[in-house]
């Protein structure tokens, strides 16, 4: 128990290290507002629009999207949540290795997909509070297609304002990856080290 607590704390510590503001001002922890959530997604969308209109080759776009994920997404919580209850049994080192491998996997996989937004335009619509976090709605307009909704879920509970899910036409990145990572782990007979190994090359 104390062992897992320590590893959890270390994991959380890493996650929140950059957001030491939250430690200094505990009252800030739940001070995320619609405006702040929206401000974060305004930045994300500005960056996305810059990349999809840049006209650069795919490899450059993937790199740029990786950067967007690293900068604005709470990848550790997405990673943990994708693993579900199995995350509990991991050692601190395993968890760090897993989160790291997952980060590479997810940024490669979704970076590639953003290629389909090429020439499109993303617009931020509005923000609202949901439970302990905020949902920011955006609209994507692609050539020859009716506009569709992409929603970002934003939380500051990592210590920074970050998005922890991106929902494209109802399809949640986090829930889809929960399904995928679960299947990957099953295929490997629950062997987490093997999963970590394979995630490094997946996506």
């Amino acid at each position: 128990m104390s062992n897992t607590m320590t590893s959890r704390r270390r994991f959380l510590g890493t996650t929140a290290a950059a957001g030491s503001v939250a430690l200094l001002l505990p009252g800030m922890a739940h001070a995320l507002t619609d405006a702040r959530a929206r401000a974060l997604i305004d930045q994300v969308v500005a960056d996305i629009n810059r990349v999809i209109s840049s006209g650069q080759p795919l490899s450059g776009m993937i790199r740029d999207f990786e950067r967007i994920f690293e900068r604005y997404a709470d990848v550790p919580i997405i990673a943990r949540s994708a693993l579900g209850p199995d995350a509990r049994g991991l050692s601190g080192a395993q968890l760090n290795a897993y989160v790291d491998a997952f980060k590479g996997y997810i940024t490669r996989k979704y970076g590639k997909r953003f290629n389909e937004f090429k020439g499109g335009q993303v617009t931020v619509k509005d923000a609202r509070k949901v439970k302990t976090f905020h949902e920011v709605r955006t609209t994507v307009k692609l050539r020859g297609e009716a506009p569709f909704e992409v929603n970002f879920l934003v939380s500051d509970r990592s210590g920074r304002d970050l998005f922890f899910d991106m929902i494209i036409e109802g399809i949640s990145l986090r829930l889809s990856e929960k399904e995928e990572i679960g299947a990957m782990l099953d295929r490997r007979g629950g062997n987490i080290n093997q999963l970590i190994q394979d995630l490094r090359n997946a996506g």
């Binding site: 990592s158 922890f164 109802g170």
Partner: protein
């Protein structure tokens, strides 16, 4: 997660086959009314997986290569026009469903769209209506059944058409059988709409090839990925997304017990 996944897996036919009818009958034999949001009801998983393998092979040997040829040989402008033409011909069917759903806004929008795109848009080859802000309000008989209170039923993967549910399978059959365009047009012309639709789907298969390939060929279990993506997208299309559907990975114990470690990260850190 695919971007615009629905363009390929929306239950709109890629090809029509009598096989579907057989599958439809078995799928509807035992409607299950216990399904609720967020859960997956898949009592036919074994048959579904068989069909999934068939669909995957079909895509690999026929649909994917054909769409690749189509996508590279046909200029994008023409592809767009074929897409618009096909969309325009599905508007009367959409409008009929809007009437059945009592959706006046959708009906008005689609009548206007049809009028504008058929005339100014030269028989539907162009889409000036969207430029005027009249975006398409897509619907189908599956949605009508949803509006009428019919339960989603079981998850079904249909040969040729892909992921569906028993409710949407009934919808598919009704939409096809009662499509006003198909019923009103004389015999040779009516095939044009089916042909345009198949061509438009091939175009979509090509446009979203990275995403679709990633689901079908790069995913560890493409069956469960396709099922999850389809159901998430379809439920969103029908019901929108209410905040009750979101769970909180940071530790709302009620909605996501997995993440109890996150119930209050700050408490942990302050200890």
């Amino acid at each position: 997660m695919p971007l615009s996944f629905k363009h390929t897996f929306s239950g709109k036919p890629v090809l029509w086959s009598a096989v579907v009818c057989a599958s439809f009958l078995s799928a509807c034999a035992a409607p299950d009314t216990t399904v609720s949001r967020g859960t997956i009801n898949d009592p036919y998983e074994e048959q579904n997986r068989g069909t999934h393998e068939f669909n995957r092979s079909l895509d690999k040997v026929l649909v994917r290569p054909t769409s690749s040829t189509y996508g590279t040989a046909i200029p994008t402008g023409l592809q767009d026009s074929i897409g618009h033409f096909s969309d325009n011909l599905s508007l009367p069917g959409d409008a009929a469903n809007h009437i059945l759903q009592g959706n006046g806004e959708g009906l008005g929008r689609n009548i206007l769209r049809f009028a504008i795109n058929t005339t100014l848009g030269i028989g539907g080859l162009f889409d000036p209506a969207s430029q005027m802000g009249l975006e398409r309000s897509k619907t189908d008989f599956g949605e009508t059944l949803y509006v009428w209170g019919v339960e989603e039923g079981a998850y079904v993967e249909l040969p040729f058409f892909g992921p569906s549910t028993s409710r949407d399978t009934v919808g598919l059959v009704v939409d096809y059988s009662l499509d006003p365009v198909r019923l009103l047009l004389p015999t040779p012309e009516r095939y044009i709409s089916t042909l345009a639709m198949v061509a438009a789907r091939l175009g979509d298969r090509h446009t979203y090839t990275a995403t679709i390939d990633s689901v079908l060929y790069e995913s560890v279990d493409s069956y469960t990925q396709a099922r999850s993506l389809y159901l998430q997208n379809r439920r969103y299309e029908l019901g929108g997304r209410s905040q009750d559907d979101y769970d909180d990975p940071y530790g709302d114990a009620d909605s996501d017990p997995y993440d109890s470690a996150y119930s209050d990260p700050y408490e942990d850190l302050n200890e």
